[in-house]
């Protein structure tokens, strides 16, 4: 492969010009770093700016669906939850049978404006009640007895975005400390992490020497070392670009002052800044309310609703709402019967939310059947992979069968 400077994708050129010492081309004349080789092997068209964007909102810990979308006309609900049930006069009605928890004012407004789809009773066969296992299952979109090491978004990147995106922007951005499993694909893809209050903006006089050193393969480089090195190189380029976009951004909505809202504000900033990133990942939690559920759950739902509300408003004001879809997921719902600690234990199916200007708002699917015995869990009616398939095919213009392993019946929310 020719190491001619013009052959380099533009961001690598940026990478070189960043060097205060003008190391420039010297670093590349002696060998071809592997990342250059792989990004030149683009078999599928690279994504451009202005393609549809997905924002995944993880509700970590297992959100109690029954107290989120409340079946306020169902006696069984009140029998199962003598102390935890939300009372009929407090719910924010969606229709004659279902309403939202009073802490969901933000979500309720979005629903009334037709921008929020509520998919009911989402789960999967042979449900697993372990946080890690069930989160794995949702993130990898595997069967519950399969162990898959790639995330469905990673596989989407593998199948649908093989080439380097324009400007070599990261394909996925996560506003969490760790890279979510959801982003891991068979091939390496650029992802980037942003902390809620922005990256540190530090000048480094040694950047030139660092860039030079980071380009060398580590002696006896194994997979871990190679991974480290590639991450660092990509980091240095993206770092500069992202810090710039975040600091220049003027939000057009007032975001609540909490970490979750700050994450969403940063997502808006990067979308408005024109990054070709396709998927963003934010997280809220913990919803694992085994004990004294009410206060904590209400607080989390308020944070969720108010944050999403502000985010939607901000996108609309920037004329970006048509380009963005947000989707929540949680590893499981919670047991219909409350426990003795005024809380609930791990359960199975629960509703999830999809928000966006292009969504068909309102309730989708059917409410869960509450004829359950003590300590019995709900039976799902929508497989979560149907939700993914719908988003992949109809929103991201991808191939859901390739990503999920087979075809799943799509739903009508897009």
């Amino acid at each position: 492969m020719k190491n001619h400077p013009n052959f380099l994708p533009s961001s690598r050129r940026e990478f070189l010009t960043m060097s205060a010492k003008g190391i420039g081309l010297l670093a590349f004349t002696h060998y071809a770093p592997s990342f250059l080789v792989s990004s030149a092997r683009a078999e599928v068209p690279a994504p451009r700016k202005d393609m549809p964007i997905l924002v995944i909102v993880q509700l970590a810990g297992g959100n109690d669906g029954l107290n989120t979308v409340v079946p306020f006309e169902d006696d069984r609900y009140y029998r199962l939850r003598p102390s935890l049930a939300v009372s009929k006069d407090k719910v924010l009605r969606l229709d004659d049978h279902l309403g939202l928890n009073p802490a969901c004012a933000g979500l309720h407004r979005l629903a009334q404006e037709g921008k929020l789809a509520i998919i009911q009773n989402v789960g999967y066969p042979n449900p697993n009640r372990s946080h890690f296992r069930s989160t794995d299952i949702w993130e990898t979109a595997s069967e519950s007895n399969e162990f898959v090491s790639t995330g469905f978004v990673g596989r989407y990147f593998d199948n649908c975005c093989g080439g380097a995106p324009a400007g070599n922007d990261p394909l996925g951005v996560h506003l969490t400390g760790e890279v979510p499993e959801i982003f891991l694909g068979d091939r390496e893809h650029e992802t980037f992490g942003v902390l809620p209050y922005g990256n540190l903006n530090r000048r480094n006089e040694n950047l030139g020497l660092l860039e030079k050193l980071v380009q060398q393969p580590v002696a006896g480089e194994n997979e871990s070392a190679s991974y480290l090195r590639h991450t660092m190189m990509d980091t240095l380029v993206t770092e500069r670009k992202v810090a710039d976009l975040l600091s220049r951004y003027q939000p057009a909505a007032e975001y609540p002052r909490n970490a979750f809202a700050a994450e969403l504000r940063n997502v808006a900033a990067l979308i408005a800044g024109g990054l070709s990133t396709r998927v963003y990942f934010v997280s809220l939690g913990s919803f694992d309310t085994h004990v004294n559920q009410q206060g904590r759950h209400e607080q989390l739902l308020t944070t969720l609703g108010d944050g999403l509300s502000a985010f939607q408003k901000d996108l609309e004001a920037h004329q970006l709402a048509g380009q963005v879809l947000a989707m929540t997921f949680s590893e499981f719902g919670r047991r219909p019967m409350e426990n003795d600690g005024k809380g609930t234990d791990h359960g199975t199916a629960a509703p999830l939310f999809v928000m966006g200007a292009k969504v068909k708002g309102g309730l989708h699917g059917t409410a869960p059947d509450l004829s359950v015995d003590r300590n019995q869990d709900l039976t799902y009616s929508v497989d979560f992979r149907q939700v993914y398939a719908t988003v992949i095919d109809r929103w991201l213009a991808g191939d859901s069968a390739a990503v999920l392993g087979r075809k799943f019946e799509p739903l009508g929310f897009i």
Partner: protein, 495 residues
């Protein structure tokens, strides 16, 4: 994973003629945080067996209880009475104060632990304790009393060279654990499965080695284990005394009985060694046959933890070439390795480095969930790399004491009086390198800091940076810049 060693070869002791400097460096860097010349020399002189006896002694050295924890424990009952007697508005204020105090105590504990663990004579036991704490997880975000967190870690430390069943029974009685996994709420007639599930899934057996019914009945056996103001007791009237069926056995089991039943399961022999492998050796999974061989042996020792450590860290597998130098350091190892590499003292100012740990993804005493930190590549993202770089540079900034508040100044003064004063890397530490010619300085520096020999190109680049025609003009400044840059490269993140 490709291994040339068979299951029976893997756990044989390293042949004596293979115990060389490279092996000693590998051992010390993996069982501890880094390896300085005096420790390496001593290990070579003593031989591998004696070294391991010393690193993992029969009685683990104690850690001094931080004063803030002592104060917290003394005050807790009084404070609780005050809260009960107070009017509702006052109560909120008092809760706020209690949380604030506990939070400050946690920061103090973190700084004290880091200083304690940085000492070479304590490093191996502290890392082993950290490992066990990553198995038997409790976390500050739920256990909001820092004294309980300290006592939990201390319990792990005191039991870390005993047997695993004894340790597990001590964990059952740990007030922090009773809080964290809802044993406090688990009572006869109203079972809470949290502890039973995580005990089997994460602490002792692993997924697939128990059924939902095992968990349901075990939960009933774990009723009645409660705590009050940090004191454990067993409350018979809360305990479910009726029969339970677990792993096919039926009886009026209590918690200890269940733990014995757990350790009779085959998976108990291999589960902890698998976790040990991930924490100390490699991201990859060892083949079942290799784990089984070790597990069978370990079961026959009565699940002796000291013997496990000594066998593991003296084995041919542990020293296999494929495992040397390619393991990503955890944030704690990065921090303490740096402290040891430059013979520093941990500054008694937790607020200065706590944000760094948070951004690197490892807040001590507060893992994100009951699985603990996964480690390996999960430590690495653009965010965490940036955090490591910033931290490394911070160790080279001189200390501006005028920016400390009065309390902090007092703490620093006290530390200095106790002989702890090397908080940042000074010109004195770097002077020896400035005195050498650039190539020798580069070679010496890299041998000191890196776990694998640097590539030729890397060495040349450092040599060039140190040369007198480089920038900046002062030799010491050039050394400083080069050293900081090395700490930011991938090579320094590996051990």
């Amino acid at each position: 994973m490709k291994l040339t060693l068979t299951p029976s070869e893997a756990w044989q002791p390293l042949p004596v003629d293979e115990w060389d400097e490279a092996a000693a460096l590998h051992l010390l860097r993996r069982t501890g945080w880094s390896a300085q010349t005096p420790e390496v020399d001593r290990a070579l002189a003593d031989g591998l067996d004696v070294t391991l006896q010393r690193l993992f002694p029969a009685t683990p050295p104690a850690m001094r209880t931080p004063p803030s924890i002592v104060a917290l424990e003394e005050d807790t009952p009084e404070f609780a009475a005050k809260i009960r007697a107070a009017a509702p508005a006052e109560r909120r204020e008092l809760y706020q104060q209690a949380r604030e105090r506990s939070r400050n105590a946690l920061l103090d504990l973190t700084a004290q632990w880091l200083q304690h663990a940085s000492r070479p004579e304590f490093a191996a036991v502290e890392k082993w304790t950290l490992f066990l704490g990553n198995v038997y997880v409790v976390a500050a975000r739920k256990v909001q009393n820092s004294a309980l967190l300290y006592r939990h870690q201390d319990m792990l430390r005191r039991n870390c060279t005993g047997t695993a069943p004894d340790l597990t029974k001590a964990v059952l009685r740990s007030p922090a654990m009773i809080n964290y996994l809802d044993l406090q709420q688990n009572r006869n007639g109203a079972p809470n499965e949290n502890f039973a599930r995580e005990l089997m899934e994460l602490f002792t057996l692993g997924i697939g080695h128990y059924t939902e019914n095992d968990i349901k009945d075990a939960a009933r056996a774990f009723t009645g284990y409660v705590q009050r103001f940090g004191d454990y007791r067993f409350e018979p009237r809360l305990h479910d005394h009726s029969p339970k069926t677990i792993f096919g056995h039926t009886g009026n089991f209590d918690g200890d009985n269940v733990i014995d039943l757990i350790y009779a399961q085959k998976a108990a022999g291999t589960h902890l060694p698998a976790l040990l492998t991930r924490f100390y050796l490699t991201d990859e999974t060892l083949p079942d046959g290799h784990l089984d061989a070790l597990g069978d042996w370990w079961r026959a020792t009565g699940f002796d933890l000291r013997q496990l450590a000594q066998r593991y860290f003296s084995s041919r597998l542990f020293f296999a070439p494929q495992f040397r130098g390619g393991y990503i350091k955890s944030p704690v190892q990065f921090f303490l390795g740096l402290v040891q590499d430059f013979s520093l003292d941990v500054p008694p100012l937790p607020r200065r480095f706590e944000p760094a740990f948070r951004q690197m993804g490892q807040v001590l005493y507060d893992p994100p969930n009951v699985r603990g930190w996964v480690g390996g590549r999960e430590w690495i993202s653009s965010t965490t790399i940036e955090a490591r770089r910033v931290l490394a540079r911070a160790f080279f900034q001189p200390f501006d004491e005028t920016r400390l508040n009065a309390d902090e100044q007092r703490t620093v003064a006290a530390a200095r009086a106790a002989g702890e004063k090397a908080f940042t890397v000074t010109d004195n530490t770097l002077q020896p390198y400035a005195a050498l010619n650039p190539d020798d300085a580069a070679a010496r520096l890299l041998r000191q800091l890196l776990s694998l020999p640097a590539s030729e190109a890397y060495r040349r680049a450092i040599g060039a940076a140190l040369a007198s025609d480089g920038k900046p003009a002062r030799p010491l400044a050039r050394v400083r810049d080069a050293v900081v840059t090395v700490l930011e490269t991938p090579e320094y993140q590996l051990c």
